[in-house]
C-alpha cells in the first residue's frame, strides 16, 4: 500500500467502505477494500477489467451483498443488499449502458418510478419545474420535452445524470462514462463533473483509461485482482506509474514499423445496405485495404460499423456495389471468406465469436468444420480437430485447464486469444490474406491488449491486409497506417494516420467533417 492514509477517517467523509470482501466461489472479487469518499471530490476507481471495480460498485449500490465489511453513508450504516436504501441514502448510479426508455420523453424518463402508482394524476408541472431547476443549477442543459430517441449519446448521458440528481443523489457513481462518447463529448462531461463537485456532490468515476482519470479526478484508487493497491492524489501522478500499479508489471506496447503497402487486397466499391425497416446502414462506401497495411475505421458506435464488419466477414450482402478480395468477388457466406483466407474477429466475442456451451476444441474448428481436414464422410475427425485446437492454444498462449472445457469458462482475454488463433491459423502454414478486426481489444486488460496488437502488427508485417474497426482512438493511432471515420453510414476520406489530429477525428465522428470542409 502506497501513499494512503486509509486508517484515519476524513472529517468530511460522505461515504466510507470498510474492509469490503466479496467472493464468488474460489474467486475473490474484492479483498478487504477500504475507501472513503470526501464531500466535493472526484474519486477515480482505476483498474483493469476483472480487477473488481464493478463488483465494488454493485455492493455499494446494493446489487450484491459483501461477505465481509461495512458501508457507512453520511454517518449512518447502509443496509446491505438493498438498492432502495442506497437510493434513499443519496447514492446515484449512471450505468455504462443507459437505462432510458427511448420512446418516452426526457421528463418521463426522469420521473419514472418516482411517483406512487396509485396517485391518479401525475404532477408533471411540478416535476418539470424541479427538473429545470436541477438542470440549471448543475449546468446540464436538456430539453425536457424531447424524446430520448432523438437525443445524442452525450445528451442521453446528461439525462441519466439528471435522473440520479432528481432522485436526490449526493454521491454519483459513473461506470466507464466515456466509453460511448466522442473526445469533445468527454470534455463536456468532465466540465459537468467539475461543476457537480463545486456544488458539493461527490463522484466516483470508474475507468481504465489513464488520461481521463488524470484529467478529471482529485484522488485515484487503483484496484488490482480485487485488492486496493494504491490510493493517491491525482496531482503529481503520472501515467506510467499508474499503469504499473494497475497491471502490476511493466507492459511493453508493440510499436509499428512503417512499410510500403502492397497490392490492393480488399476493394469495396459503392456499397449500399439498408436494414429491414429501410433505414440506411451503409450509404455508398468505397474502401481499399492493401496487403501489409492497417486501415482503421473510427466512429461512435452505431454509425454503420456493424454493417461494414458484416460486409467484410461474409455475413451481410451488399444491396448495391461490390466487394472483392484479391480481385475476386466473394459471396456473402462465411465459409467462402474463410476459404479465401479471410481472418474474422467479431466485435462480440461472447455471443458471436464463440459458442459458449461447446468445448474449446470445438470452437477452435467451428469455422472449418466442413473442410476435409476436420470432417470425413460426415464424421468429425476428432483427433485432427483436437490437435489443431492444441496447436492454437499453444501458439497463442490461451490459458485453460484443457481443451474440453466449455469456451464460456475462458476469461475475456483468453477467449479473444482463442478467436484470434482460430482466425489467424488458416491452415497449411499460410498467412491470412485479410484480417477483419472488429473492436478486437474491447474489454481486455493491458497485457492481452498488447498481445492482440502484436498479432495484428505481425500479420500485417507478413503481408496481410488488416481492417481495424475501433472506438478506441489510442488503439487507432497506435496501429493504423491510414484512418477513416464513419458517420451515419458514410465513410470519410481514408487518409494517412499522420494527417489526422485528435480534434479532427472527433469532429468527423460527430458528423462535422462536411461542415468543416465547407467552412
Amino acid at each position: 500500500m502506497e501513499g494512503a492514509n486509509l486508517e484515519s477517517p476524513v472529517l468530511s467523509s460522505v461515504l466510507t467502505l470498510a474492509g469490503i470482501t466479496k467472493r464468488f466461489g474460489a474467486l475473490t472479487a474484492n479483498d478487504a477494500v477500504s475507501l472513503d469518499l470526501a464531500r466535493g471530490e472526484v474519486l477515480a476507481l482505476l483498474g483493469e477489467n476483472g480487477a473488481g471495480k464493478s463488483t465494488l460498485v454493485s455492493i455499494l449500490f446494493g446489487h450484491y451483498v459483501a461477505d465481509e465489511g461495512t458501508i457507512t453513508a453520511f454517518g449512518s450504516p447502509l443496509p446491505p443488499g438493498d438498492p432502495a436504501a442506497a437510493l434513499a441514502a443519496g447514492i446515484g448510479m449512471v450505468h455504462q449502458h443507459f437505462t432510458l426508455a427511448d420512446n418516452l420523453t426526457v421528463l418521463d424518463n426522469i420521473m419514472i418510478g418516482t411517483e406512487p402508482l396509485w396517485r391518479p394524476v401525475s404532477r408533471r408541472r411540478a416535476a418539470r419545474k424541479r427538473v429545470r431547476e436541477t438542470a440549471a443549477r448543475f449546468g446540464l442543459a436538456v430539453n425536457t420535452h424531447a424524446r430520448v430517441s432523438e437525443l445524442s449519446v452525450g445528451e442521453r448521458q446528461r439525462v441519466e445524470i439528471l435522473k440520479a440528481l432528481y432522485r436526490g443523489a449526493r454521491v454519483l457513481i459513473l461506470d466507464e462514462p466515456t466509453a460511448v462518447l466522442t473526445p469533445q463529448e468527454s470534455r463536456d462531461l468532465f466540465a459537468t463533473l467539475r461543476q457537480l463537485v463545486t456544488e458539493g456532490l461527490s463522484i466516483i468515476f470508474i475507468s481504465h483509461k489513464l488520461d481521463e482519470v488524470l484529467a478529471v479526478s482529485d484522488r485515484i484508487a487503483v484496484l488490482r485482482n480485487g485488492k486496493l493497491v494504491a490510493l493517491r492524489e491525482a496531482r503529481g501522478a503520472t501515467k506510467a506509474e499508474l499503469a504499473l500499479l494497475m497491471v502490476g508489471r511493466a507492459v511493453v506496447m508493440p510499436t509499428r514499423e512503417r512499410r510500403a503497402p502492397g497490392a490492393s487486397t480488399i476493394a469495396v466499391r459503392g456499397v449500399h445496405v439498408h436494414d429491414a425497416d429501410g433505414g440506411t446502414l451503409l450509404d455508398g462506401i468505397d474502401l481499399d485495404v492493401a496487403a501489409g497495411e492497417i486501415v482503421a475505421i473510427a466512429g461512435v458506435a452505431g454509425n454503420g460499423q456493424q454493417a461494414l464488419a458484416g460486409l467484410l466477414s461474409g455475413t451481410l450482402a451488399p444491396e448495391r456495389g461490390t466487394v472483392t478480395l484479391a480481385g475476386r468477388p466473394l459471396a456473402a457466406k462465411p465459409r467462402a471468406w474463410v476459404a479465401a483466407r479471410a481472418a474474422r474477429i467479431p466485435e462480440d466475442r461472447h455471443s458471436v465469436g464463440v459458442i459458449g456451451d461447446l468445448a474449446v476444441w470445438e470452437n477452435a474448428i467451428s469455422e472449418r468444420l466442413r473442410m476435409p481436414d476436420f470432417t470425413r464422410a460426415g464424421f468429425v475427425r476428432r483427433t485432427a480437430a483436437r490437435a489443431h485446437a492444441e496447436a492454437i492454444v499453444r501458439r497463442f498462449d490461451v490459458r485453460l485447464s484443457g481443451i474440453d472445457v466449455p469456451a464460456r469458462s475462458l476469461s475475456g482475454g483468453n477467449m479473444q486469444k482463442l478467436i484470434l488463433g482460430r482466425a489467424l491459423t488458416v491452415g497449411g502454414g499460410a498467412t491470412p490474406a485479410f484480417i477483419l478486426a472488429d473492436q478486437p481489444t474491447w474489454g481486455l486488460d493491458i497485457g492481452a491488449l498488447a498481445y492482440v496488437h502484436e498479432c495484428l502488427l505481425e500479420a500485417a508485417g507478413e503481408g496481410a491486409a488488416v481492417l481495424l474497426i475501433s472506438e478506441d482512438l489510442d488503439e487507432i493511432f497506435a496501429l493504423a497506417d491510414r484512418i477513416g471515420v464513419m458517420y451515419h453510414g458514410t465513410l470519410s476520406a481514408v487518409r494517412a494516420a499522420e494527417s489526422w489530429t485528435l480534434s479532427a477525428i472527433g469532429l468527423a465522428m460527430a458528423g462535422g467533417e462536411e461542415a468543416a470542409r465547407a467552412a
Binding site: D357, L369, T375
Partner: protein, 349 residues
C-alpha cells in the same frame, strides 16, 4: 434470496440430481397417497411391484416404454437445436396411419421389404408434419411452439376423418378404427405370454444412433452449435436454417416411427385412443433426460414404470391411477429444480 453460479459443476452432483429429484417427488406424492386414506409404504410397494415386481410387470413396463423412448428422442433431438417441437403426438398418429395405409396397399412384396417400407412411410409422414412449422420458423420467424401444438389437433381430426371414412374397418361394428395391419408385418414378440415386442430393440438402437450422430458427426456438431448459439453458429459459417430443417426431419421421423412401431408391435390397428399422450409424455421424458439420448431411455422406462405401476396399484387399493400423472409431473418439476441447483447455489440473507 438469490442464485449464485457455482464455479464448476461436479460430476457427482450431476448424477445425484435426478435421484434427489425422484426421492423428493415420492415424499411429496406420499402426502396425496396418505390423503386417499391408504398406508403410504404399502401403496408405493404395490406400485413398485406393479412396475417391476415380476417378469410380466417388467415386460408391461418395457412395452409401455417403447413408444415413449421414440417420442422422447424426437423431442430431445429437436429441443437440442432449440426447435421446440410440441407436435410429437400428431406426428405419431400420422406415422401410424401411414404405416397402416402402406401396409394394406396390397403391394406384392415380401415382409422383409415391406416392413422397412411402412417404417419409412411412417417416418416420412411424421417428418412432413413438422417440416411446415420448421420452414415457417426459419423463413418467417413464426413460433413453432404454437404451430406444432395446433397441428396436433389437425392431425388427430384428420386421423378421425380417415377412421370414419376411407380407412374404416368394416368389420369393427361401427367403431372408428382402421383396418388392421397385415399379420405378417407385426413385430415379433420378445417373450411368451407377454406383449413385449422387438420394437423395443429398434428404439434402443435408435437411441444409440442418435447419440452417435450427436457426438461424432459434423451434423450433430452443427445441431448442438445452432441450439447453443445460432448467431455464433451462423458467424462460423454453419447453415443455420438448413440445420433446423434437417433437425425437424429427424425429429418428425422419430415420432412418426413411434406410431408405426406402436401399430406393428402392440395395437395392430389405429384408433383414436391409441396413444394416451405419448407425444406429450415425450416432452417430459426429454426434459427429465436433460435432452441426452441415452438418458431418454432411462427416463422413458421410469415414466412407463410409474404409469404401469400406478395402474396395478389402483386395482389393488383405493388410490386413483391419476397419481401416476401427478408423480410424473412432480418429478419433472423436481428435476428442473434439481438440475438448476446443481449449477447454482441459493444465498439467503
Amino acid at each position: 434470496m438469490r442464485l449464485e453460479a457455482r464455479g464448476q459443476v461436479s460430476r457427482s452432483m450431476q448424477i445425484a440430481a435426478p435421484f434427489a429429484a425422484i426421492a423428493f417427488t415420492l415424499v411429496v406424492c406420499s402426502l396425496l397417497v396418505a390423503w386417499a386414506g391408504v398406508p403410504v409404504g404399502g401403496a408405493y410397494l404395490l406400485l413398485l411391484e406393479g412396475a417391476a415386481g415380476s417378469g410380466f410387470a417388467v415386460s408391461e413396463t418395457l412395452t409401455r416404454a417403447t413408444p415413449l423412448m421414440l417420442t422422447g428422442l424426437a423431442v430431445a433431438v429437436a429441443f437440442r437445436a432449440k426447435l421446440y417441437n410440441i407436435g410429437a403426438e400428431g406426428q405419431l398418429y400420422m406415422g401410424a396411419l401411414a404405416a397402416v395405409a402402406v401396409g394394406n396397399a396390397g403391394l406384392p412384396l415380401p415382409p422383409i421389404v415391406l416392413f422397412p417400407l411402412i417404417a419409412l412411410a411412417a417416418m416420412a409422414a411424421g417428418a412432413l408434419l413438422l417440416i411446415g412449422p420448421a420452414l415457417l420458423k426459419t423463413r418467417f420467424h413464426i413460433d413453432e411452439v404454437v404451430t406444432t401444438l395446433l397441428l396436433n389437433f389437425i392431425a388427430l381430426l384428420f386421423v378421425s376423418m380417415m377412421l370414419d371414412g376411407p380407412m374404416k374397418d368394416p368389420g369393427a361394428l361401427g367403431w372408428p378404427q382402421s383396418v388392421a395391419i397385415p399379420s405378417e408385418l407385426e413385430l415379433p414378440k420378445l417373450a411368451e405370454r407377454s406383449r413385449i415386442h422387438s420394437g423395443l430393440l429398434i428404439a434402443l438402437c435408435l437411441a444409440a444412433l442418435v447419440w452417435m450422430i450427436d457426438r461424432f458427426t459434423a451434423f450433430g456438431f452443427e445441431m448442438r452449435a445452432v441450439g447453443a448459439n445460432a448467431r455464433a453458429a451462423a458467424f462460423a459459417g454453419m447453415p443455420v436454417q438448413a440445420v433446423v430443417v434437417k433437425t425437424a426431419l429427424l425429429s418428425g421421423a422419430l415420432a412418426g416411427l413411434a406410431g408405426c412401431i406402436e401399430v406393428a408391435g402392440r395395437a395392430g390397428y389405429v384408433t383414436l385412443d391409441m396413444s394416451p399422450g405419448y407425444g406429450y409424455s415425450g416432452i417430459v421424458i426429454a426434459m427429465l433426460a436433460q435432452l441426452n439420448p441415452i438418458g431418454v431411455v432411462a427416463a422413458a422406462i421410469f415414466v412407463a414404470g410409474i404409469l404401469v405401476g400406478a395402474d396395478s396399484m389402483s386395482r389393488a387399493i383405493a388410490v386413483p391411477t391419476y397419481i401416476a400423472d401427478v408423480i410424473v409431473a412432480a418429478s419433472l418439476i423436481a428435476m428442473l429444480v434439481a438440475t438448476m441447483l446443481a449449477r447454482y447455489r441459493i444465498r439467503w440473507h
